[in-house]
Amino acid sequence: MGYRSASLILRCGTILGLITITTGLVLGHKPVSEMLVLLGLVSIIITPLISLMLIGVLSILKRDFHTFILSQITIGTILLSILLSAM
Protein backbone atom coordinates (compact mmCIF):
# COMPACT_ATOMS: atom_id res chain seq x y z
CA MET A 1 0.00 0.00 0.00
CA GLY A 2 1.00 3.63 0.01
CA TYR A 3 1.58 4.05 -3.71
CA ARG A 4 -1.69 5.83 -4.46
CA SER A 5 0.06 8.97 -5.73
CA ALA A 6 2.35 6.92 -8.00
CA SER A 7 -0.71 5.14 -9.35
CA LEU A 8 -2.43 8.47 -10.02
CA ILE A 9 0.61 9.70 -11.95
CA LEU A 10 0.60 6.57 -14.10
CA ARG A 11 -3.06 7.00 -14.95
CA CYS A 12 -3.01 10.76 -15.57
CA GLY A 13 0.34 10.82 -17.38
CA THR A 14 -0.68 8.37 -20.07
CA ILE A 15 -4.09 9.97 -20.58
CA LEU A 16 -2.48 13.41 -20.82
CA GLY A 17 0.02 12.05 -23.34
CA LEU A 18 -2.71 10.52 -25.50
CA ILE A 19 -4.75 13.76 -25.40
CA THR A 20 -1.68 15.82 -26.36
CA ILE A 21 -0.89 13.54 -29.33
CA THR A 22 -4.52 13.66 -30.50
CA THR A 23 -4.56 17.47 -30.23
CA GLY A 24 -1.36 17.64 -32.25
CA LEU A 25 -2.70 15.32 -34.94
CA VAL A 26 -6.03 17.16 -35.17
CA LEU A 27 -4.43 20.60 -35.23
CA GLY A 28 -2.42 19.89 -38.38
CA HIS A 29 -0.52 23.20 -38.14
CA LYS A 30 2.99 21.97 -38.86
CA PRO A 31 5.46 23.24 -36.26
CA VAL A 32 2.93 23.34 -33.40
CA SER A 33 1.36 19.96 -34.19
CA GLU A 34 4.73 18.24 -34.50
CA MET A 35 5.78 19.70 -31.17
CA LEU A 36 2.54 18.56 -29.50
CA VAL A 37 2.85 15.04 -30.91
CA LEU A 38 6.45 14.77 -29.69
CA LEU A 39 5.46 16.16 -26.29
CA GLY A 40 2.67 13.59 -26.03
CA LEU A 41 4.93 10.69 -26.97
CA VAL A 42 7.61 11.82 -24.51
CA SER A 43 5.08 12.26 -21.72
CA ILE A 44 3.78 8.70 -22.22
CA ILE A 45 7.33 7.35 -22.09
CA ILE A 46 8.44 9.31 -19.04
CA THR A 47 5.26 8.66 -17.04
CA PRO A 48 6.48 5.31 -15.62
CA LEU A 49 9.80 6.98 -14.80
CA ILE A 50 8.15 9.83 -12.91
CA SER A 51 6.07 7.29 -11.06
CA LEU A 52 9.23 5.39 -10.16
CA MET A 53 10.92 8.58 -8.98
CA LEU A 54 7.98 9.21 -6.68
CA ILE A 55 8.21 5.65 -5.38
CA GLY A 56 11.89 6.34 -4.64
CA VAL A 57 10.99 9.48 -2.71
CA LEU A 58 8.24 7.66 -0.81
CA SER A 59 10.60 4.83 0.11
CA ILE A 60 13.22 7.20 1.46
CA LEU A 61 10.53 8.88 3.56
CA LYS A 62 9.74 5.41 4.95
CA ARG A 63 13.49 4.89 5.53
CA ASP A 64 13.45 1.99 3.07
CA PHE A 65 16.91 2.62 1.61
CA HIS A 66 17.06 -0.70 -0.24
CA THR A 67 14.03 0.17 -2.41
CA PHE A 68 15.33 3.71 -2.84
CA ILE A 69 18.75 2.57 -4.14
CA LEU A 70 17.19 0.03 -6.50
CA SER A 71 14.78 2.64 -7.88
CA GLN A 72 17.66 5.03 -8.50
CA ILE A 73 19.65 2.32 -10.33
CA THR A 74 16.62 1.63 -12.55
CA ILE A 75 16.12 5.32 -13.30
CA GLY A 76 19.85 5.67 -14.01
CA THR A 77 19.77 2.74 -16.46
CA ILE A 78 16.81 4.15 -18.35
CA LEU A 79 18.30 7.65 -18.47
CA LEU A 80 21.48 6.08 -19.82
CA SER A 81 19.43 4.61 -22.65
CA ILE A 82 18.17 8.06 -23.53
CA LEU A 83 21.69 9.42 -23.64
CA LEU A 84 22.93 6.47 -25.71
CA SER A 85 20.16 6.69 -28.26
CA ALA A 86 20.53 10.45 -28.56
CA MET A 87 24.19 10.05 -29.54
Binding site: M1, G2, Y3, R4, A6, S7, L8, L10, R11, G13, T14, G17, L18, I21, T22, G24, L25, V37, G40, L41, V42, I44, I45, I46, T47, P48, L49, S51, L52, I55, S59, H66, T67, L70, S71, I73, T74, G76, T77, I78, L80, S81, I82, L84, S85, A86
Partner: protein
Amino acid sequence: MLTLLLLFITSLAVGFVSSIVGIGGGSILAPLLTLVFGYDVKVSIATTLLCTVVTSSSASSVYLEKGLVNMKTALLLEPTTALGAITGAFITIAIPSEVVKVVLAVVLLHLAIVMMYRAVNARSIGEGKGYELSLAPSISLKRRILAVMISFIAGMLSGMLGIGGGVIKVPLLVLVLGLPLKSAVATSSFMIGLTAAAGSMVYLLKGLIEPSLVIVMSSGIMPGAVLGARTARRLKPRLLSLLLSSILFYAALRLLWSLAR
Protein backbone atom coordinates in the same frame (compact mmCIF):
# COMPACT_ATOMS: atom_id res chain seq x y z
CA MET B 1 -9.27 6.61 -42.54
CA LEU B 2 -10.74 3.16 -43.25
CA THR B 3 -7.41 1.58 -42.33
CA LEU B 4 -7.43 3.38 -38.99
CA LEU B 5 -11.03 2.28 -38.33
CA LEU B 6 -10.10 -1.31 -39.15
CA LEU B 7 -7.07 -1.05 -36.89
CA PHE B 8 -9.26 0.30 -34.07
CA ILE B 9 -11.64 -2.67 -34.39
CA THR B 10 -8.67 -5.06 -34.55
CA SER B 11 -7.11 -3.51 -31.43
CA LEU B 12 -10.46 -3.73 -29.63
CA ALA B 13 -10.65 -7.43 -30.46
CA VAL B 14 -7.00 -7.99 -29.50
CA GLY B 15 -7.51 -6.23 -26.16
CA PHE B 16 -10.64 -8.30 -25.52
CA VAL B 17 -9.09 -11.68 -26.34
CA SER B 18 -5.69 -11.04 -24.78
CA SER B 19 -7.15 -10.00 -21.42
CA ILE B 20 -9.16 -13.24 -21.29
CA VAL B 21 -6.26 -15.42 -22.35
CA GLY B 22 -3.84 -13.54 -20.11
CA ILE B 23 -1.23 -12.24 -22.52
CA GLY B 24 -0.34 -8.73 -23.65
CA GLY B 25 -1.59 -7.55 -27.01
CA GLY B 26 1.89 -6.78 -28.37
CA SER B 27 2.62 -10.27 -29.59
CA ILE B 28 -0.48 -10.18 -31.78
CA LEU B 29 -0.48 -6.53 -32.84
CA ALA B 30 3.11 -6.28 -34.07
CA PRO B 31 2.74 -9.07 -36.69
CA LEU B 32 -0.78 -7.87 -37.58
CA LEU B 33 0.49 -4.37 -38.33
CA THR B 34 3.09 -5.83 -40.67
CA LEU B 35 1.09 -8.60 -42.31
CA VAL B 36 -2.40 -7.07 -42.56
CA PHE B 37 -1.76 -3.33 -42.58
CA GLY B 38 1.53 -3.39 -44.46
CA TYR B 39 3.68 -1.35 -42.08
CA ASP B 40 7.42 -1.92 -41.90
CA VAL B 41 8.25 -4.49 -39.23
CA LYS B 42 10.45 -2.04 -37.29
CA VAL B 43 7.71 0.64 -37.23
CA SER B 44 5.20 -2.01 -36.11
CA ILE B 45 7.46 -3.14 -33.27
CA ALA B 46 8.29 0.42 -32.13
CA THR B 47 4.65 1.53 -32.18
CA THR B 48 3.40 -1.60 -30.43
CA LEU B 49 6.03 -1.15 -27.73
CA LEU B 50 4.77 2.37 -26.99
CA CYS B 51 1.20 1.06 -26.84
CA THR B 52 2.47 -1.45 -24.29
CA VAL B 53 3.59 1.48 -22.09
CA VAL B 54 0.05 2.92 -22.24
CA THR B 55 -1.77 -0.33 -21.52
CA SER B 56 0.55 -1.58 -18.80
CA SER B 57 0.59 1.84 -17.12
CA SER B 58 -3.17 1.85 -16.82
CA ALA B 59 -3.19 -1.75 -15.58
CA SER B 60 -0.36 -1.30 -13.09
CA SER B 61 -1.95 1.89 -11.72
CA VAL B 62 -4.78 -0.35 -10.47
CA TYR B 63 -2.34 -2.92 -9.10
CA LEU B 64 -0.27 -0.22 -7.34
CA GLU B 65 -3.38 1.20 -5.72
CA LYS B 66 -4.37 -2.24 -4.48
CA GLY B 67 -0.86 -2.82 -3.12
CA LEU B 68 -0.32 -5.94 -5.23
CA VAL B 69 3.04 -4.93 -6.73
CA ASN B 70 6.04 -6.46 -4.96
CA MET B 71 8.24 -3.39 -5.29
CA LYS B 72 11.47 -4.94 -3.98
CA THR B 73 11.31 -7.79 -6.49
CA ALA B 74 10.33 -5.47 -9.35
CA LEU B 75 13.21 -3.12 -8.64
CA LEU B 76 15.66 -5.98 -8.19
CA LEU B 77 14.95 -7.22 -11.72
CA GLU B 78 14.13 -3.97 -13.51
CA PRO B 79 17.64 -2.49 -14.06
CA THR B 80 18.76 -5.53 -16.07
CA THR B 81 15.37 -5.83 -17.77
CA ALA B 82 15.55 -2.19 -18.88
CA LEU B 83 19.12 -2.71 -20.03
CA GLY B 84 17.91 -5.73 -22.00
CA ALA B 85 15.14 -3.67 -23.61
CA ILE B 86 17.60 -0.98 -24.66
CA THR B 87 19.94 -3.61 -26.09
CA GLY B 88 17.03 -5.27 -27.89
CA ALA B 89 15.85 -1.99 -29.40
CA PHE B 90 19.37 -1.21 -30.65
CA ILE B 91 19.65 -4.72 -32.15
CA THR B 92 16.34 -4.30 -34.02
CA ILE B 93 17.42 -0.93 -35.38
CA ALA B 94 20.80 -2.29 -36.47
CA ILE B 95 19.83 -5.57 -38.14
CA PRO B 96 17.94 -5.93 -41.46
CA SER B 97 14.12 -6.14 -41.35
CA GLU B 98 14.25 -9.70 -42.73
CA VAL B 99 16.21 -10.93 -39.71
CA VAL B 100 13.77 -9.14 -37.36
CA LYS B 101 10.91 -10.96 -39.11
CA VAL B 102 12.62 -14.33 -38.60
CA VAL B 103 13.19 -13.67 -34.87
CA LEU B 104 9.59 -12.44 -34.48
CA ALA B 105 8.29 -15.55 -36.26
CA VAL B 106 10.34 -17.86 -34.02
CA VAL B 107 9.08 -16.14 -30.84
CA LEU B 108 5.49 -16.26 -32.13
CA LEU B 109 5.83 -19.97 -32.85
CA HIS B 110 7.11 -20.52 -29.32
CA LEU B 111 4.21 -18.48 -27.86
CA ALA B 112 1.70 -20.41 -29.97
CA ILE B 113 3.07 -23.75 -28.76
CA VAL B 114 3.14 -22.65 -25.09
CA MET B 115 -0.42 -21.33 -25.35
CA MET B 116 -1.66 -24.48 -27.04
CA TYR B 117 0.07 -26.67 -24.45
CA ARG B 118 -1.55 -24.72 -21.60
CA ALA B 119 -4.95 -24.86 -23.28
CA VAL B 120 -4.72 -28.60 -23.87
CA ASN B 121 -3.49 -29.30 -20.35
CA ALA B 122 -5.96 -26.72 -18.93
CA ARG B 123 -3.59 -25.78 -16.21
CA SER B 124 -2.05 -22.37 -15.63
CA ILE B 125 0.98 -21.59 -13.49
CA GLY B 126 0.31 -21.98 -9.83
CA GLU B 127 -3.14 -23.45 -10.29
CA GLY B 128 -4.19 -25.66 -7.45
CA LYS B 129 -1.30 -24.65 -5.23
CA GLY B 130 -3.39 -22.37 -3.04
CA TYR B 131 -1.68 -19.14 -4.02
CA GLU B 132 -2.85 -16.14 -2.11
CA LEU B 133 -1.28 -12.76 -1.74
CA SER B 134 1.56 -12.98 0.73
CA LEU B 135 5.07 -11.64 1.07
CA ALA B 136 7.76 -13.18 -1.09
CA PRO B 137 9.61 -15.87 0.80
CA SER B 138 13.35 -15.56 1.32
CA ILE B 139 15.08 -16.61 -1.88
CA SER B 140 18.62 -17.90 -2.24
CA LEU B 141 21.27 -15.76 -3.93
CA LYS B 142 21.60 -18.34 -6.74
CA ARG B 143 17.93 -17.98 -7.62
CA ARG B 144 18.14 -14.20 -7.51
CA ILE B 145 21.09 -14.17 -9.91
CA LEU B 146 19.27 -16.59 -12.21
CA ALA B 147 16.17 -14.34 -12.12
CA VAL B 148 18.24 -11.26 -12.94
CA MET B 149 19.81 -13.07 -15.91
CA ILE B 150 16.49 -14.34 -17.25
CA SER B 151 14.93 -10.90 -16.85
CA PHE B 152 17.66 -9.47 -19.08
CA ILE B 153 16.56 -11.89 -21.82
CA ALA B 154 12.89 -11.00 -21.21
CA GLY B 155 13.78 -7.31 -21.53
CA MET B 156 15.79 -7.92 -24.69
CA LEU B 157 12.89 -9.75 -26.34
CA SER B 158 10.56 -6.96 -25.29
CA GLY B 159 12.74 -4.23 -26.75
CA MET B 160 13.53 -6.25 -29.84
CA LEU B 161 10.02 -7.41 -30.74
CA GLY B 162 7.65 -4.94 -29.10
CA ILE B 163 6.12 -7.49 -26.77
CA GLY B 164 5.58 -6.97 -23.04
CA GLY B 165 7.42 -10.09 -22.01
CA GLY B 166 4.88 -11.10 -19.38
CA VAL B 167 4.97 -14.60 -20.78
CA ILE B 168 8.52 -14.90 -19.40
CA LYS B 169 8.24 -12.58 -16.39
CA VAL B 170 5.20 -14.13 -14.71
CA PRO B 171 6.57 -17.72 -14.69
CA LEU B 172 9.94 -16.33 -13.58
CA LEU B 173 8.39 -14.47 -10.64
CA VAL B 174 6.27 -17.46 -9.62
CA LEU B 175 8.61 -20.37 -10.23
CA VAL B 176 12.03 -18.87 -9.50
CA LEU B 177 11.25 -16.13 -6.99
CA GLY B 178 8.26 -17.77 -5.34
CA LEU B 179 5.81 -14.89 -5.64
CA PRO B 180 2.08 -15.60 -5.38
CA LEU B 181 0.43 -15.58 -8.82
CA LYS B 182 -1.67 -12.45 -8.18
CA SER B 183 1.36 -10.50 -7.04
CA ALA B 184 3.46 -11.89 -9.91
CA VAL B 185 0.97 -10.64 -12.50
CA ALA B 186 0.85 -7.20 -10.86
CA THR B 187 4.64 -6.99 -10.47
CA SER B 188 5.17 -8.12 -14.07
CA SER B 189 2.68 -5.51 -15.31
CA PHE B 190 4.52 -2.75 -13.41
CA MET B 191 7.86 -3.94 -14.80
CA ILE B 192 6.53 -4.15 -18.36
CA GLY B 193 5.65 -0.44 -18.31
CA LEU B 194 9.17 0.55 -17.29
CA THR B 195 10.83 -1.90 -19.68
CA ALA B 196 8.71 -0.80 -22.63
CA ALA B 197 9.38 2.86 -21.75
CA ALA B 198 13.14 2.24 -21.90
CA GLY B 199 12.90 0.55 -25.29
CA SER B 200 10.40 3.10 -26.64
CA MET B 201 12.71 5.99 -25.93
CA VAL B 202 15.33 4.45 -28.23
CA TYR B 203 12.76 3.96 -31.00
CA LEU B 204 11.33 7.47 -30.53
CA LEU B 205 14.71 9.10 -30.95
CA LYS B 206 15.26 7.05 -34.11
CA GLY B 207 11.89 8.26 -35.48
CA LEU B 208 10.31 4.82 -35.77
CA ILE B 209 7.08 5.47 -33.83
CA GLU B 210 3.88 6.26 -35.75
CA PRO B 211 1.80 8.58 -33.47
CA SER B 212 -1.58 8.10 -35.18
CA LEU B 213 -1.27 4.34 -34.74
CA VAL B 214 -0.47 4.79 -31.03
CA ILE B 215 -3.74 6.70 -30.53
CA VAL B 216 -5.88 4.27 -32.51
CA MET B 217 -4.37 1.13 -31.01
CA SER B 218 -4.33 2.39 -27.41
CA SER B 219 -7.93 3.56 -27.61
CA GLY B 220 -8.87 0.12 -28.96
CA ILE B 221 -6.88 -2.11 -26.63
CA MET B 222 -7.87 -0.45 -23.35
CA PRO B 223 -11.70 -0.70 -23.62
CA GLY B 224 -11.27 -4.12 -25.23
CA ALA B 225 -9.26 -5.34 -22.25
CA VAL B 226 -11.81 -3.97 -19.76
CA LEU B 227 -14.64 -5.65 -21.70
CA GLY B 228 -12.65 -8.89 -21.84
CA ALA B 229 -11.96 -8.84 -18.10
CA ARG B 230 -15.68 -8.34 -17.39
CA THR B 231 -16.87 -11.12 -19.65
CA ALA B 232 -14.02 -13.52 -18.95
CA ARG B 233 -16.08 -15.71 -16.65
CA ARG B 234 -18.80 -16.23 -19.23
CA LEU B 235 -16.43 -17.31 -21.99
CA LYS B 236 -14.27 -20.37 -22.40
CA PRO B 237 -10.62 -19.31 -22.04
CA ARG B 238 -9.43 -22.70 -23.29
CA LEU B 239 -11.20 -22.28 -26.60
CA LEU B 240 -9.93 -18.71 -26.96
CA SER B 241 -6.39 -19.83 -26.13
CA LEU B 242 -6.58 -22.43 -28.88
CA LEU B 243 -7.93 -19.86 -31.31
CA LEU B 244 -5.27 -17.32 -30.40
CA SER B 245 -2.46 -19.85 -30.61
CA SER B 246 -3.70 -20.79 -34.09
CA ILE B 247 -3.63 -17.10 -35.09
CA LEU B 248 -0.09 -16.73 -33.72
CA PHE B 249 0.96 -19.90 -35.50
CA TYR B 250 -0.51 -18.62 -38.77
CA ALA B 251 1.12 -15.18 -38.30
CA ALA B 252 4.51 -16.79 -37.71
CA LEU B 253 4.20 -18.91 -40.84
CA ARG B 254 3.03 -15.91 -42.89
CA LEU B 255 6.05 -13.91 -41.69
CA LEU B 256 8.39 -16.70 -42.76
CA TRP B 257 6.50 -17.14 -46.03
CA SER B 258 6.83 -13.41 -46.84
CA LEU B 259 10.60 -13.85 -46.61
CA ALA B 260 10.68 -16.96 -48.75
CA ARG B 261 8.91 -15.26 -51.68
